[in-house]
């Protein structure tokens, strides 16, 4: 019921209010109200006597509501409510009228206005108060456990304090080890303690504390729940090593061939893909860095682990390398010779100089295996009853046969040729791919009882028979029919396939001294030309576009040219005559669908001598017989669905017969998919859609790209090349292959070559390990995620792109005794010890235009410290310190500065540097001395930039999960900068250390302890009181539209599926009112902020003066 006996207490707040607002008049005006029983004013309502006045008056005048007109409710609402409670009045019958911030201060120069505004505010507050309900705090149970996010010094301190107080604490750290930024530092100001010495005991304590559960290499994935009852889902990133088994022996790192820039050393050093970040790491367990599928593996239609076999080859472990190839492909020698290597086209190294010779590495290890008598063995995984016929022993057919046999099916391969290999055998000339290689690599299939039926042509007569005999059939019949041009005299020409087939089957074709013109620009044109050359011809390739548009492999074109094949571009055959060919001249037009420029006929002709014309204008599948049997054929190609299945149920197809003439690797890839789906089909499982393409946006570690040219392979002597069909490419030598492999930029991180698995005695390494998740229930959360510093690259004018211009954290690593240079600063560019170093303060800090507006607080001190340490390590190094102001506001800090100046001989120059540039081998620092008013230039060998600090880059994501606010620089926002620096607006979530704002170690540790104390206070109670000012739903009015649900930042609202109305989870609700503002019918409202109350208050406030 509306209140009738309200009391008003106007506070003077010293002169803050009474100096402007006429408090007596306020009291007098309000006293006129019928519903006000008592009104008074007092100098400090928040003082003991002030509170007593309220208590006494409540009792004396039997007040049923109280308005205190004073300052912001964030300051004294609780004080006043407690006073009322002591007097027996429900505390929620007390409201604050903020006449200080709203009336007195803004109208300081106009006391009349201030007084009238104050009266109005009080009136409005009374209107609001009148309908207030008496409320009682909610009680929420508490989970007596805590979570600390961040394993830096602040987080560790918080965790240890909590754990020591008997509270079970979960620590989540995203890096593999505890330590944070502090463990990277060389020494600490102003005491020059070594952080390794003072921090490692703490790290070990955290690692071994019975009350601490440590999750490193982990991230908070999801946070649910509320104050006292949080549910946290934690992602444990896969280290690919079972840490329960890892002994930290380091054998894996010794053999790991993959070197990456060290993230712990901020790229100042390198490390192996499997690593422990630093010697004192806790836990002392190895972690394998895997970034994902590298571009080479992704680009390979068969998804061979290219980075893997290259990595093993780099280590000289060719046995391992061939094993990596064999994991996905038994035909290493074939692939190593004739693959069109999409892997190399995708190789990140290509953007720097030339791609790594991936194919030749594979070729080398394949040959190595032959020489060293290591054979591929096809292991049949459990014999199955069902049988499959494969028509065609080419690229697609062979791999399908292999895969299906491996799965246990009985496989028979039919081919009309007398040899195994299809186009590999008869379409690719022997000087590129000798038949012995094919036979050698097919032998394991034969050994595993794959049956080959050669000289057997499948056609409309016998196909049905085969189809009945086997459970499934794969058509991999390739493209053995010749395309025709339809020009006069075409019958006089020879087809490329015919020529190649003869060469392959050892027949002789006499072309000695004859002029041979090969028409076409694809691989078969080049093959035919080089074959004709070997038969003694004088060969010219005539192509209708230019060299740039030739679809043949570029290396092969070069090889052909070396051997003496001539080229004629922009001509198209018009007629073949005896001994001559008539060619039409072409010109290039716009680009066509394939991205190549189209040839356009010019109408001009020329004649060319040609004893023999070889047409290499494309091949087609010969699928006419299949069409007759009811298999869908389109544009001469066998039509399949997305599972490689033809229109006949148990008939699948793959390879060139499906795609049109393409290359070995694509034929093989489709063949593999056909085999996979045949197996699914035979087992009655759901088939998988063919997915050949895969993308990878990894681009490797550019800093690893030391200058190294791509190695060329050894070739046969030119005379033999021109006249014989001996294999002309001899591959890499053993030294070359290792050097070539070293050019790899390691895009994927760990290459999964498996060398480490071999040496791990405790069998801890599992390269297939996946990320996993754990759930923890906690009552409080402390966020201590720390800070980052801006990279030097952000400041090109200060030379940030030069290797010897570092940021301070990178320089710390160079100063660290256990760092990459053992504490002696050396230039990253050449390893020389510098003669002079310049330090630049305030890089990006105090610079709202180009960086951040604030002072980064620690830079002055650490720069002075670094300057001192340089002098300490090498007194002969000159140090120039360019500063604007030295801010040394800590215990012992100013004294520290003076020591640097007086004892160590550091040169301090007051003025900001504007430019740093390279002059010869050194760096010219262009600065100013604002004190003498002179421009100062100095040449140094290294520059250290004290770049601005920002919040940890991942903190925004975390803050969103925790629903706590942050600013644009990534600092978490505290509830009150002065009085609640550790609290956040979300109950039970605290912040500590540099996550709030950059701070030094002293302050971080203090805050860690402070936040722990806050959490302890919270967790010490069995149950928590919660403010009852929460949203409530009137189910009679609620239409269940869900607008409120989508607005709730706390996830407190759900829609009851049965009653179809919104429901509020009181434990989660924070009473912010966003739901209420968005409800069209006001069905959801915050208690004591109901629509009538607000409207009444607004009515008063909006009245005209």
């Amino acid at each position: 019921m509306a209140m009738k006996r309200i009391g008003l207490f106007v506070c003077h707040c010293g002169r803050n209010i009474a100096g402007t607002v006429d408090v007596e008049r306020v009291v007098k005006e309000i006293s006129k109200r019928e519903d006000v029983a008592f009104a008074t004013h007092y100098i400090f309502m928040c003082s003991q006597p002030g509170q007593q006045l309220i208590e006494d008056s409540i009792k004396k005048y039997n007040l049923d509501g109280v308005v205190v007109a004073n300052c912001s409710p964030t300051l004294h609402e609780r004080t006043m409510r407690n006073a009322a409670a002591r007097a027996g009045l429900n505390p929620y019958r007390v409201e604050i009228a903020n006449i200080r911030e709203w009336a007195a201060w803004p109208h300081e120069d106009n006391p009349e206005a201030a007084t009238r505004v104050a009266i109005r505010i009080v009136n409005a507050t009374i209107e609001k108060l009148k309908a207030n309900a008496s409320l009682h705090p909610l009680e929420v149970p508490v989970k007596k456990r805590a979570l600390v996010v961040g394993g830096g010094v602040a987080g560790m301190q918080a965790a240890l304090d909590l754990a020591d107080a008997g509270i079970e604490t979960v620590v989540v750290e995203k890096e593999p080890s505890l330590g944070g930024n502090m463990i990277r530092l060389s020494e600490t100001f102003p005491t020059l303690d070594c952080p390794q010495c003072i921090l490692t005991p703490k790290m070990n304590d955290v690692g071994g504390h019975p009350n601490i559960k440590l999750y490193t290499y982990s991230e908070v994935e999801e946070v649910d729940g509320y104050l006292g009852n949080f549910k946290v889902k934690i992602k444990r990133k896969s280290p690919f090593i079972d840490w329960n088994k890892c002994t930290g022996c380091g054998e894996c790192a010794k053999v790991c061939p993959t070197t990456l820039p060290s993230d712990f050393d901020l790229k100042m050093a390198t490390r192996k893909a499997t690593h422990i970040p630093f010697e004192q790491a806790v836990p002392f367990k190895y972690t394998i860095t895997y970034n994902g599928v590298p571009p080479c593996n992704a680009a390979c239609p068969l998804h061979l682990n290219a980075q893997g076999y290259v990595a093993a080859a780099k280590a000289g472990r060719f046995d391992r390398s061939i094993d990596v190839v064999w994991e996905r492909l038994p035909f290493a020698g074939i692939a190593g010779r004739i693959c069109t290597h999409p892997c190399e086209s995708a190789c990140s190294r290509g953007a720097i100089d030339k791609p790594v010779g991936i194919r030749e590495v594979k070729r080398f290890v394949a040959d190595w295996a032959v020489k060293n008598d290591r054979k591929y063995i096809l292991h049949v995984k459990g014999e199955k009853e069902k049988s499959v016929a494969i028509i065609g022993a080419g690229a697609a057919g062979l791999i399908a046969a292999h895969d299906l046999r491996e799965m246990g099916y009985k496989v028979t391969v039919y081919d009309k040729l007398p040899v195994i290999g299809g186009m590999l055998a008869v379409g690719i000339p022997p000087y590129r791919l000798p038949q012995e290689v094919i036979d050698y690599e097919v032998q394991p299939l034969i050994d595993a009882s794959v049956e080959f039926v050669l000289n057997y042509e499948v056609n409309e007569k016998n196909f049905e028979e085969i189809r009945k005999k086997y459970d499934a059939v794969i058509l991999a019949i390739g493209t053995h029919k010749e395309r025709h041009l339809g020009i006069p005299g075409e019958e006089k020409a020879m087809h490329a396939l015919e020529l190649l087939k003869k060469a392959n089957l050892g027949e002789d074709v006499d072309l000695k001294g004859k002029k041979v013109v090969v028409i076409g620009g694809g691989n078969s044109a080049v093959d035919a030309a080089r074959t004709a050359l070997r038969f003694g011809g004088d060969v010219t390739i005539a192509y209708r576009r230019t060299r740039n548009e030739m679809p043949a492999i570029p290396e092969e074109i070069v090889d052909a040219e070396e051997e003496g094949v001539k080229f004629k571009f922009l001509v198209s055959p018009a007629e073949i005559l005896d001994g001559k060919i008539k060619l039409e001249k072409m010109k290039l037009g716009e680009k066509d669908a394939s991205g190549r420029r189209k040839p356009i006929p010019t109408g001009e002709y020329e004649m060319m001598d040609a004893d023999v014309v070889v047409l290499a204008v494309g091949e087609l599948p010969d699928a006419s017989w299949a069409e007759k049997l009811g298999i869908n054929v389109e544009r001469n190609r066998i039509k399949v669905n997305e599972f490689m299945q033809t229109s006949l149920q148990n008939v699948f197809a793959a390879g060139d017969a499906v795609t049109g003439a393409w290359d070995w690797v694509h034929a093989a890839a489709y063949g593999r998919w056909a085999a996979k789906n045949v197996a699914h089909y035979l087992e009655g499982e759901e088939m998988e859609k063919v997915q050949i393409e895969m993308s990878s946006n990894l681009r490797g570690y550019k800093e690893l790209a030391y200058p190294a040219k791509r190695h060329e392979t050894k070739k046969l002597g030119m005379e033999e090349r021109r006249t014989t069909f001996k294999e002309f490419n001899l591959g890499y030598t053993e030294e070359d292959v290792v050097d070539e492999a070293k050019r790899c930029l390691g895009c994927g991180g760990c290459a999964k070559c498996g060398l480490c698995v071999e040496v791990c005695e405790s069998k801890a390494i599992d390269l297939h390990m996946q990320d996993w998740y754990v759930e923890e229930e906690v009552g409080a959360i402390i966020v201590a995620t720390g800070f980052e510093v801006m990279p030097p690259e952000a400041f090109p004018e200060l030379g940030g792109k030069y290797p010897d211009v570092l940021n301070a954290l990178q320089f710390e690593r160079l100063l660290a005794p256990a760092g990459p240079t053992e504490g002696i600063p050396r230039r990253p560019s050449d390893g020389k010890i510098p003669k002079a170093i310049a330090f630049v303060h305030c890089v990006g800090s105090r610079d709202p235009q180009n960086g951040v507006p604030y002072c980064s607080r620690i830079c002055c001190m650490y720069t002075i410290k670094q300057a001192m340490l340089v002098k300490h390590a090498r007194p002969d190094i000159a140090v120039y310190d360019f500063y604007i102001d030295i801010r040394s506001n800590g215990k012992g800090y100013e004294e520290f500065y003076h020591r640097a100046k007086e004892e160590y001989g550091v040169n301090f120059i007051r003025g900001k540097v504007s430019k740093v540039y390279k002059v010869g081998d050194r760096y010219r620092v262009q600065g100013v001395d604002t004190l003498t008013g002179r421009i100062v230039e100095v040449d140094v060998d290294m520059v250290v930039l004290a770049t601005a600090a920002k919040g940890s880059s991942s903190v925004k994501e975390l803050a969103k999960k925790l629903r706590i606010p942050y600013d644009e620089w990534g600092w978490l926002k505290e509830t009150h900068l002065k009085l609640k620096p550790l609290e956040t607006p979300v109950g039970g979530v605290f912040i500590a250390g540099a996550a709030q704002f950059v701070k030094d170690i002293t302050d971080s540790v203090s805050q860690g302890s402070g936040a722990a104390a806050k959490a302890m206070a919270l967790l010490s109670k069995p149950e928590l009181e919660k403010e009852p000012l929460l949203a409530r739903v009137d189910p009679e009015i609620c239409a269940g539209c869900g607008r409120c649900k989508d607005q709730c930042a706390y996830g407190a609202i759900s829609i009851d599926p049965v009653r179809h109305v919104a429901v509020v989870n009181e434990a989660l609700c924070e009473g912010c009112g966003a739901c209420s503002a968005n409800c069209p019918t006001t069905a959801i409202q915050v208690v004591n902020f109901k629509k009538g109350q607000i409207i009444r208050a607004v009515d008063v406030l909006a009245e005209v003066f």
Partner: protein
């Protein structure tokens, strides 16, 4: 006939910088564009007024923009190309200034009652931006006939292409657009740290010695980095770096001369346009002929 695009040459190109004008127009022609001179253009004013209450520096430029507006409708294109850095800077700033500050535009309209009002849709572009964004560097690469292989070029932007921020054609501290162009032309690019430093500008009129000192520093650093030529786009930078070497040499006997060229001249040469009608080497104080002999 190529596609027509409006071109604002500016006064300097008509006289002492004929080498810039002709190499620009001819190189564009190779790329399939016809740079049509804006009819009736007037002086850009060379420097832009910095006083808040000054409108006089804006008038001439807005007049030019209005002319472009009219002519642009005729040829159906709203791009106005400038190649002289000063012209680009002034036209662009005037455009931005009046678009931000409509009151100023209204005041200007009062000064120019004989003309249509400026509607604000002229796209003022520097020739380099045009090459990069509209023509495409691919297209430029396609037209290279004589790659400048072995020529070491120090790209020099000066001030007006990069500052103030609102008119910058690239990152003001570490621009790369010239570098990209020269690499495509086949030249070897020198990482020239002073590429965005001032040449001394208009002080060349009354304080030659200062400009001589600037030239000394800019040229000798480029020389020290192994450059054969410095390439620029601004006729004033060109004059200062070229002609004022005389003073630099007088003051510093160890100073070594270096030829200065316009980036468009290098483009023309790479495109195979080596006629003196295009290159006008007679306009250079230090002749680049010897250095460029290989490609001429």
């Amino acid at each position: 006939m190529g596609k027509k695009v409006m071109f604002y040459p500016g006064c300097t190109l008509k006289g002492v910088a004929k080498n810039l004008e002709d190499s620009t127009v001819e190189s564009a022609r190779v790329l399939g564009y016809d740079l049509v001179e804006l009819p009736g253009w007037t002086c850009c004013g060379a420097v832009y007024g910095l006083a808040q209450d000054s409108v006089k520096f804006t008038i001439a430029n807005v007049r030019n923009l209005i002319k472009a507006q009219n002519f642009g409708k005729e040829i159906g294109d709203n791009r106005l190309l400038a190649v002289c850095s000063m012209c680009y800077n002034n036209l662009k700033r005037a455009h931005i200034d009046v678009m931000k500050n409509r009151d100023k535009l209204k005041t200007l309209d009062l000064f120019m009652d004989e003309e249509a009002n400026y509607e604000g849709n002229i796209n003022v572009m520097h020739y380099l931006q045009f090459l990069k964004n509209d023509v495409g560097m691919d297209k430029v690469a396609e037209m290279v006939k004589k790659p400048l292989k072995g020529l070491k070029v120090a790209p020099y932007y000066g001030c007006l292409l990069l500052r103030p921020d609102e008119v910058a054609i690239d990152d003001r501290e570490d621009p790369h657009i010239l570098e990209e162009l020269f690499e495509i032309l086949g030249a070897e690019v020198v990482d020239y740290p002073l590429k965005n430093e001032c040449c001394g500008s208009y002080h060349t009129v009354d304080k030659k010695e200062i400009v001589g000192e600037r030239t000394y520093k800019l040229v000798s650093v480029a020389k020290g980095m192994g450059a054969d030529v410095i390439a620029t786009s601004c006729p004033l930078c060109f004059f200062n770096l070229d002609k004022r070497q005389e003073i630099a040499k007088q003051k510093h006997s160890e100073f070594e001369h270096m030829p200065i060229v316009y980036f468009t001249q290098l483009m023309a040469i790479a495109f195979g346009l080596t006629s003196q009608d295009v290159l006008h080497f007679d306009k250079h104080y230090i002749s680049p002929e010897e250095v460029l002999q290989k490609w001429l």
